[in-house]
């Protein structure tokens, strides 16, 4: 259960990977998620074609997210962030090394490792929608297969929905404490069934 503290700032536990759970919502913080920014100038260009091959499938279209599953290594989640950026989350070390190698000599794009810098929170449970509508605008909460970058809890957050009832929030590490504290406060009110 979530307990309310006086300042709402004591969220270090969640920052370090523990989970919050209350009122029909579970929030898990994964500070070690492997994240990267794929930057490019032409989403239809050769660089992206080569990256898609290495990543195991096409990169997402605008406002979309795709999950590529592999039998013998971690899934790769890709989320559109802007016309020149796609976030790449997960994937095995070998695959990521291949991506970096392919990208390193290119003039058409680059691969910027963001591991540790962009942290992923996974929100699940029947009241996920209720929680997100209290963090940001209801109109930017993504549906399955979508990725929206918008303001949540006063922060720039990329919200990604791969499957119903589960949402990934990607936020800069420096702000994880603030986001977790906001969620903690909200969940404490869920517990009170207000």
């Amino acid at each position: 259960m979530v307990s309310r503290d006086a300042t709402g700032a004591d969220a270090t536990g969640a920052e370090n990977g523990s989970a919050l759970e209350a009122g029909g919502v579970a929030v898990r913080v994964d500070p070690g998620a492997k994240t990267a920014s794929l930057r490019y100038f032409d989403a239809d260009g050769g660089f992206i074609s080569r990256m898609a091959e290495v990543l195991g499938g096409p990169i997402p279209s605008p406002l979309e997210a795709v999950l590529h599953r592999f039998a013998d290594e971690p899934d790769v989640l890709m989320a559109w962030r802007s016309p020149t950026e796609t976030l790449v989350i997960g994937g095995g070390d070998a695959r990521r090394a291949t991506i970096e190698r392919h990208a390193s000599g290119s003039t058409e794009g680059c691969f910027v490792d963001q591991t540790g810098g962009i942290v992923m929170l996974t929100v699940s449970g029947e009241r996920t929608g209720d929680l997100l509508s209290r963090l940001g605008s209801n109109s930017v909460i993504p549906r399955p297969g979508q990725a929206h970058t918008a303001r949540f809890a006063e922060l720039a957050v990329t919200a990604v929905c791969v499957r119903p009832g589960e949402m990934h929030l990607l936020v800069e590490r420096v702000y994880v404490r603030h986001l977790v504290a906001w969620i903690r406060e909200t969940l404490a009110d869920f517990r009170g069934a207000v």
Partner: protein, 970 residues
């Protein structure tokens, strides 16, 4: 007023079986569940509720809803006290505490009422004409003490507020018959429909009436899937069909005992279509002393009788100029209230209604009200000059029925126009507002059946994406626009809350404040918590009469959100305390805490200011740390330093455009200081640019400036330099930074396992090397210094920062190493004369002001801000320039912010002190400042003034330490 509780079955809203106790002004009273505070006070015979704003005249309950101008109370006590609540909206609950506002020592005996005795000296705008001599400040404290109504708590609010966003195809504002009709029709035709109603129940302002359509509509709404939010008041319509509403949540004494509760919820609803069914307000009639407790809107008295079982008086008189008064009189009679007379200003020929059960005096008006704190009677005179003898009528309540004013607020907020409907003397919507359709009384449709049909058609049309039909005003009966009675003495109040009388409107007209907006500001009519819901139309009609204009020509003031008062807590939501603003956190916060760090906020970062040792002050710790950096080595967590990766074939060209300084000539591995300007040539940020590859750069910004730098880069790329192939990737969160400064920096790094390629001999100042530490930890090491000492900025993945700090700390004792915080860093950079953007610069600082004038001259290529710097004003030698300062006596610390001027203020300032510290290395204070023609005044003695102190300072050459820069190289 001798209000009293009527016998059952009157009182559809109350449960007589459930008694509720509450306190009013310390007096224990009882009401019933379902009562409002207003109805309970009336039922207890309490007519005197508060005092007016300016004259402190006695005031009672005037209405039955959100428009209440006078029945204001402070609710709760201590930290839970909420000021200026309308008693008409406060739901009675066990233990409720309410107090009258704006009175001392009591509402019955208020010393402020002396104002009323001298009211002739306090006409509209008196404060614009008086209190000038000898000095406004002499009067200001007293006036400020007297201003305002209720008192805020002054303590932190323990309750909580939240913000929820929602979307809907159709949002209906108002839960009356029209609102329900529109909602049901929209939902039945497939629209996701959300209905907001301010009350606890559906039915709207007339929901207490026994209307058989109502339960049917409520059931139909449930069947059709209409989402209903009760106790939710829509207070604003904003751009792109955003509706904001406040939901009042029920109090919970059980939870309150242990914790704050969720008190209110702010709904931000994005709608495809908005339907306003906000109803209408009754317009009062003007007559002398029409503000006495016991004078009330007729419709309100009717509702109190039927809904709450409260008769507003034993003998009731109705003052009217509207047909609606006749139906009200009959309804009151049915409820058991004795109406002794209906006094209609209009001649019989203008009256379109009748009431056989009540004595009607046509072409008559009230010339006098007897009683001061309660109505004791009234005197009726002829209003048509017929010379009929005045007649005294014994009564204890006077009901005012001057027609209606549709609640067009949301329509106007949405950008809708209004038109004057003469027959009923009211402003109604002129067509639809963009994205918003009005139905029911707020559209001027007072006929129930017509309103319901129209609302249903609107709901149907909106659900189907079809144009919604417009309404024509119907069913309001006839009303007289003019409301006051000429030729009678006594104050006839237009705005009861602000004590604006008929004479004040006349004075505004006489002094040519003819515009309705000027009228409002000059007289204060329509201001305050009610925003003139019962006074605006009367005021503008009067202004029209005084200036020979029709009401339509006078117009209305601009309707702005919020429609009703909103607590500040609601707007703050969760943004209080630790959530007030997002603070950034260091990756190795725990390590710093273990070293005794004292954390403070710097540029939205929560980071160590210093590491005081047992009993040491912050200043002493900073001095010790700064000295340690000069003599051995210091460790700084520089992770907040802004970091951007710039990539692309045009990256070099882009950075040349963005920075004062040429970055394209850097070879891979080289770094250069750069200053970022905006298009006006103003210094925005600075930092170091290093080249990682042919088309790949690493940009360090200031800690606080990374967002604005990244935003500026994106803006120029997206709006101006659109042909350049460049991407900007912020990586501040990804890369931590451990900075070592001091003559033993390299020795400590080497001891921690850094290989010789990073040694000063192989890595000169202002170079960057990629490498690894501990085998696989990637590094980007920059030789740079903000202290003037040998410096290394070691950038590495954030999750490795603590490990590196630990490794360095493990060998720290061998090199007398200390961790140092921001305070020591500020001392060190000031000793070297290095500027800090935002501290030594402001929103007017140009490169030439900080010693970079020659850099501007040298750079022949274009760059952002260049054109502005070519203006003569930018080259004015009389501008302020950054200089170094020493105290004249050699020992006094010059206060930061102190003004430099030849004489004590008030006088022309020549500059100010921007940075000032005691230098531990010199044993004397050092300072920087901006000074007019500063660089031409080296050696000059200037006067420094601060809060009455007067110091001497000497303009000297920077830096204070190591002028040749030898220490940078170790």
């Amino acid at each position: 007023m001798s209000a009293y509780r009527l016998a059952a079955p009157r009182g559809a809203r109350i449960d007589r079986a459930r008694t509720v106790s509450f306190d009013f002004n310390g007096r224990r009273l009882q009401g019933f569940e379902g009562d409002t505070l207003a109805s309970a006070l009336l039922a207890n015979g309490l007519g005197l509720v508060g005092r007016s704003f300016k004259l402190h005249r006695p005031r009672g309950i005037f209405s039955c809803g959100v428009e209440e101008p006078t029945g204001l109370v402070d609710i709760g006590a201590g930290a839970l006290r909420t000021p200026n609540q309308r008693a008409t909206l406060v739901e009675l609950r066990e233990g409720l505490r309410a107090e009258s506002v704006n009175c001392w020592p009591s509402v019955g005996f208020d010393l402020g009422a002396l104002n009323d005795r001298v009211s002739g000296l306090l006409p509209a705008g008196f404060y614009y004409k008086t209190f000038k001599w000898p000095d406004w400040h002499l009067f200001e404290p007293t006036i400020r003490r007297m201003a305002g109504l209720g008192r805020a708590s002054g303590q932190p609010d323990p309750d909580r507020y939240e913000e929820v966003s929602a979307t809907a195809d159709v949002v209906v504002v108002g839960g009356g018959v029209a609102g329900l009709g529109a909602a049901v029709a929209a939902a039945e035709h497939g629209a996701d429909t959300l209905l907001l109603t301010g009350g606890a129940n559906l039915g709207g302002a007339l929901g207490w009436r026994d209307d058989p359509a109502l339960p049917q509509l409520v059931a139909a709404a449930a069947r059709a899937g209409v989402r209903v939010l009760t106790r939710t008041l829509a207070f604003g319509v904003y751009d792109h069909r955003l509706v904001c509403a406040r939901e009042n949540l029920p109090d919970d004494p059980a939870r309150r005992a242990s914790d704050g509760i969720m008190r209110e919820r702010l709904w931000k609803i994005r709608a495809r279509h908005i339907v306003s069914a906000a109803g209408a307000f009754e317009r009062p009639v003007l007559f002398p002393n029409n503000d006495r407790p016991g004078v009330m809107l007729a419709g309100a008295a009717d509702k109190y009788a039927h809904a709450f079982g409260v008769a507003c008086g034993q003998r009731v008189v109705i003052a009217a100029n509207s047909d609606s008064a006749y139906a009200t009189a009959e309804s009151l009679r049915i409820a058991g209230v004795r109406v002794v007379a209906l006094i209609d200003r209009r001649p019989p020929s203008d009256i379109g209604a009748a009431c056989d059960s009540t004595r009607v005096l046509c072409a008559s008006g009230i010339a006098k009200v007897a009683g001061r704190t309660a109505v004791r009677g009234c005197t009726v005179v002829s209003a048509d000059g017929s010379g009929r003898r005045p007649e005294s009528i014994e009564c204890d309540a006077i009901l005012s029925a001057g027609g209606h004013a549709p609640a067009v607020h949301l329509h106007s907020q949405a950008g809708g126009k209004l038109t004057w409907f003469e027959a009923a003397a009211m402003f109604v919507p002129d067509g639809h507002a963009p994205g918003l359709v009005s139905v029911g009384a707020c559209a001027g449709v007072f006929d129930r059946d017509i309103a319901l049909n129209h609302a249903s058609e609107v709901g149907h049309a909106l659900a189907g994406g079809l144009p919604a039909p417009c309404a024509s005003p119907r069913g309001a009966g006839r009303s007289l626009a003019a409301t006051h009675l000429a030729g009678v003495s006594g104050k006839q109040f237009v705005d009861l809350q602000n004590d604006v009388a008929l004479s004040d409107v006349g004075l505004a007209a006489q002094e040519n404040y003819r515009s309705v907006e000027h009228l409002k500001r000059y007289t204060t009519t329509g201001m305050g918590t009610d925003q003139g819901k019962t006074s605006n139309v009367n005021a503008l009609v009067l202004m029209g009469e005084f200036t020979g204009r029709e009401p339509a020509d006078v117009g209305t003031t601009k309707f702005r959100p919020p429609f009703a008062p909103i607590t500040l807590g609601l707007f703050a939501g969760r943004r209080v305390g630790a959530l007030y603003r997002p603070l950034k956190t260091l990756p190795a916060e725990g390590w710093h805490r273990a070293r005794g760090a004292l954390f403070e906020q710097f540029g939205n970062w929560y980071r160590p200011a210093a590491y005081p040792r047992g009993g040491e002050s912050l200043d002493a710790a900073a001095q010790r740390e700064a000295l340690a950096v000069r003599t051995s080595v210091g460790l700084l967590d520089g992770s907040p330093l802004g970091k951007l990766e710039i990539f692309g074939p045009d990256a070099a060209q882009f950075l040349d455009l963005m920075y004062l300084g040429t970055m394209s000539t850097l070879s891979v591995g080289q770094a250069r200081y750069g200053v970022l300007l905006n298009e006006n040539g103003i210094v925005m940020d600075d930092g170091i640019v290093a080249r990682l590859g042919e088309q790949h750069y690493w940009v360090n910004t200031t800690s606080a400036g990374v967002e604005r730098t990244a935003a500026a880069f994106e803006e120029w790329l997206q709006c101006e330099y659109t042909t350049l192939a460049v991407v900007v990737t912020p990586v501040t969160s990804r890369w931590g930074n451990v900075t070592l400064a001091g003559p033993k920096s390299w020795e400590l790094l080497a001891a921690a396992g850094f290989d010789a390629s990073f040694a000063p001999a192989s890595m000169p100042h202002m170079t960057l090397r990629n490498g690894h530490w501990g085998g696989d930890v990637p590094l980007r090491v920059l030789r740079a210094s903000f202290s003037g000492e040998l410096g290394y900025e070691v950038n590495l993945p954030v999750n490795q920062v603590e490990a590196l700090l630990a490794a360095l700390w493990a060998r720290a004792a061998e090199f007398d190493a200390v961790p140092y915080g921001i305070e020591a860093l500020e001392i060190l950079r000031t000793e070297k004369g290095y500027l800090h953007i935002g501290t030594d610069t402001d929103g007017t600082t140009l490169p030439g002001d900080i010693g970079l004038g020659r850099a501007v001259e040298r750079k022949g290529a274009n760059f952002v801000g260049r054109r502005s710097l070519l203006r003569p004003a930018a080259r004015d030698p009389g501008r302020m320039q950054l200089v170094a300062l020493r105290p004249g006596d050699g020992c006094s610390l010059l206060p930061v912010g102190a003004q430099i001027a030849a004489a004590a203020p008030p006088t022309q300032s020549e500059g100010y002190v921007t940075s000032s510290y005691m230098s531990p290395s010199l044993g004397a204070p050092v300072a920087l400042g901006m000074l007019t023609r500063g660089t031409q005044r080296l050696g000059e003695r200037v006067r420094v003034h601060h809060l009455g102190s007067d110091l001497e300072a000497i303009v000297v050459e920077a830096p204070f330490i190591d002028p040749t820069g030898e220490r940078l190289h170790g």
